[in-house]
Amino acid sequence: MILSGKKIFFAILTTLLIQMTFNVKMSSAEALSVISEKPVMQLISAGAGNTLFLLINESETLAVSGHEVSQSVWQRIRTIYLESPLKVKVLLVILVYLLISLFVLFLVIIINRQIKTIRRKRERILKQEYQEQLADFLFNDEVETIEFRGINTRKNRQIFIDELRFLHSNLYGETASKLRDLYFNLELHNDSLRKVYHKRWHTKSKGFQEVAQMDVKDANDYIAGFANSKNSIIRVEAQVAMVKLSDEEPLAFLNELTWELSDWEMINIYDTLIYHQINIDSFEAWLDSENYSVVVFALRMIMLFKHVQTIPRVKQLLFHEQPEIRLAATKALKPMDSAEYIPELKQLYRDESYRLQEILREFEENEKDKKPGLIEARSLEDILPREIRYEIIESLTTIASADEIPFMAEVARDSHNSVKIRMLALHIIASLGQEGNHKLDELSEDADTTLNNMIINVKQNPES
């Protein structure tokens, strides 16, 4: 009913729109002054008692009073209409149109509500029934299968599939397998496959989800074709499905991906890997991808899975031309906890600082007044260099040794740096034992108020 309700809705809306456009055009072409034009009143009115409108000025006799009383109401209305000026015609038409559509709308809304209420109630009852049956089936060995009510209707089967899927997604082990077996025994995989091959994208997407979860591999090749689809919604569902369903190379689609991988896609892919405990030995191959978003994805995976074996390659990427990749590489090294890349990090820090200076210099030249202290560029360009620098210092938190103290001291002293990064540097110094504390004291000697406050704060709160 909803479907047909929508069709009516769109039909009316479209005709209304067309009518509106048409009327507006007509109206603006008109040039009559209507209000206070007395002859017009004559034209509008037609015979006492049968008029839709009232006369104001009795002194004017009706030009139309010659009409016979025997004329039907319909004919009289037609006359009124035909003899009115265009403007009035327009408004009359609109009015009638509105009244009709209002009436129709009213009915549609009421009926729709009725139907929805009934359907909703039915669904709720069915749902509860299915839930009971499923729970019973799972833990009652005597129950071999479920004959659920309404198995012949697609809609009911869908409700059952949804409940089954929900339960299945929360369980693993023997119980989950039992559910899967039931799913196949009841031939529900056909419903899912039907959706997969459906022409509408949102139905397809649901189908992909279902077959992926229930491990129906019949349509693998078909689904794989959508992993590079223009439609971003289908694409992400196909990708996630392929990760789950592929026997080998779950991430093969990354090789052919021509679209940018969105964060949402990355999150979903990662979630699938974790959820189904799919092991990927190495992400290194994708670090060479021409699709930069794939490189970023690979770096993030390396970070999350702590693939220390890829460190050498990641180190190289610290100097990639794309700031997003540099940032991802920095973040990827963070959990690795190894001192082997300290020199590269420091080098990158210097590079980014230089870049930042260039950006700010350009900005300063364009701005009239010079501002001391932290300068932020008007443009968005300085965001990434700042972030990279911060991530670098954060990476160094766990791996810095006393050798890094001078470097950190520089970072802390530089008043062009943000408070955030300076505090971090100070914390690192503080964590480096006696030498660190000594440095802190040294720094306070010629520190300005700001730096002093920061040092005091760090000393008071050893763990930030």
């Binding site: 309700g5 809705f9 769109f10 809306l13 479209t14 209304l16 729109l17 509106m20 507006v24 109206s27 603006s28 002054s33 209507v34 209000i35 206070s36 017009v40 009143m41 509008i44 009115s45 409108f53 009035v88 408004l91 009359l92 609109i94 009015l95 209002l102 709308l105 809304i109 009421i110 729709n112 509500r113 009725q114 929805k116 209420t117 949102h202 997407s205 649901k206 964060d263 949402w264 999150i267 979630d271 978003s293 999350l304 501002k371 001391p372 202290g373 932290l374 932020e376 008007r378 443009s379 968005l380 965001i383 943000s418 955030k420 505090m423 700001t450 406050n453 005091i456 008071q460 709160n461």
Partner: protein, 494 residues
Amino acid sequence: MIEFFRTLQFIIENGIIVITLFIFGSYVALAVFSALSMLQYIRKNSYIDYKVLLSSPLAPSISVIAPAYNEGKTIIDNIRSLMSLHYNDFEVIIVNDGSKDDTMEKVIKAYDLEPMNFIYEQKVATEPIRAIYKSRNKAFKKLVVIDKENGGKADALNAGINFSQMEYISVVDVDSVLVEDALLIMSKPFLEETKRKIIASGGVIRIANSCKIEEGRITEVKLPKKFVPRVQVLEYTRSFLMGRMAWSKLNGLLLVSGAFGMFNREIVLKVGGYNTNLVGEDMELIVRMRRYMSEQKEKYRVIYIPDPLCWTEVPASLKVLGRQRDRWTRGNMESLFMHFKLFFNPKYKTLGLLGHPYWFFFEWFAPIMEFIGIIYFIIIAILGIPNWPFFFLLLGVIYFFAVTLSHWAILFEELSFHRYTRKREVVTMLFTAMLEPIFYHPFILMFSIRGNFKYFIGEKTWGSMDRVGFSEEEKEEDDDENNEQIITERGQVA
């Protein structure tokens, strides 16, 4: 002389008709766009499992900022409500804007707060911070309470933005009740876009009057019993589901309601945070952010989510409603005139060619035009020469159009996220729609005119604000001042 009046008459009468029909036409166009946009959204998200964001280390961090002023009665429940949002990496920042009641005492007691030392940059100048609190109880780790001197809502929000170190900020009215998945649903669009940066998103505001709220949670949705809030349900539905959805699709959205919105924090800081000299700070921020992105030649979008995520109480009396509406009118005018440069300016693409002009004509000018029309008619009536039949015809058309539009809105609501499930409620709504143009709209018109009046004779707020955006930061840029902005122990300024 007669000629003059004839001409005037001609212009006004035809003008009114033409403009009226044009307005109607645009409402219909917007309704169509909205319908398409909503359909796409619903289809797209009907089977999405947002929970994936809940446990993902790649999900963005969010600061939920809620300014509070004299909320002693409900603050505990409000905080509880915000703290129970389903999300992983987020914090709830309550900014006590110098409340004169027992708000702080209650919160400190209920959540076992202690003042902490924080050092951070105040990128946007605000009124002095007295102290920043966190809970001793680890179960309330996510809570931060900033106690500051009174400075207004915008100022309080800026204080929260300064403190936050997260990627996104979600601005909420402290007494708004958010759906538990609100943060999950709101963040998804930010994560999906690759070609354009999403700088802000707004959600539908639903009316909580007469709804059952227990411990900061909506347990039962009911249609407001009183007429005034009930009509607002219609208003909001029309505005959100048939207006903003369209603008979201066209990328011409000028307003993200202050009751609930999500922003990219970096961009908010780049434009200098909220403007504290305005009454309509929420709209002005969006316009400023959009303008900034256009000027930086960066592709961006401001989007709208039709999912009902936020429930809030609306004025139940005409008096309070009046204050709100004339404040809105003034807010509109502030933003529109401050950023008048955008008006039909092709440099700003949709914002300049569609967004700003539309808001200018339809939101600001339309009530004025209506008012002129009424005055005109009254004059005519006094002179005793109106053509009543035509007048009633016109009135009839306008009335039935308004009622039909409302019916469409109700249908939209029914076919999408309908939350009013009782049959009787739908019928009540349909009849309320019929009463609205007669018993409600005239007041709204009056409030709007009053707002205009207040704006023109009242404090010229925009005079001191010719420098907008980044220039705001100039306030804090002074060698000494820079130091003063660093907060130390107990908020004592260095």
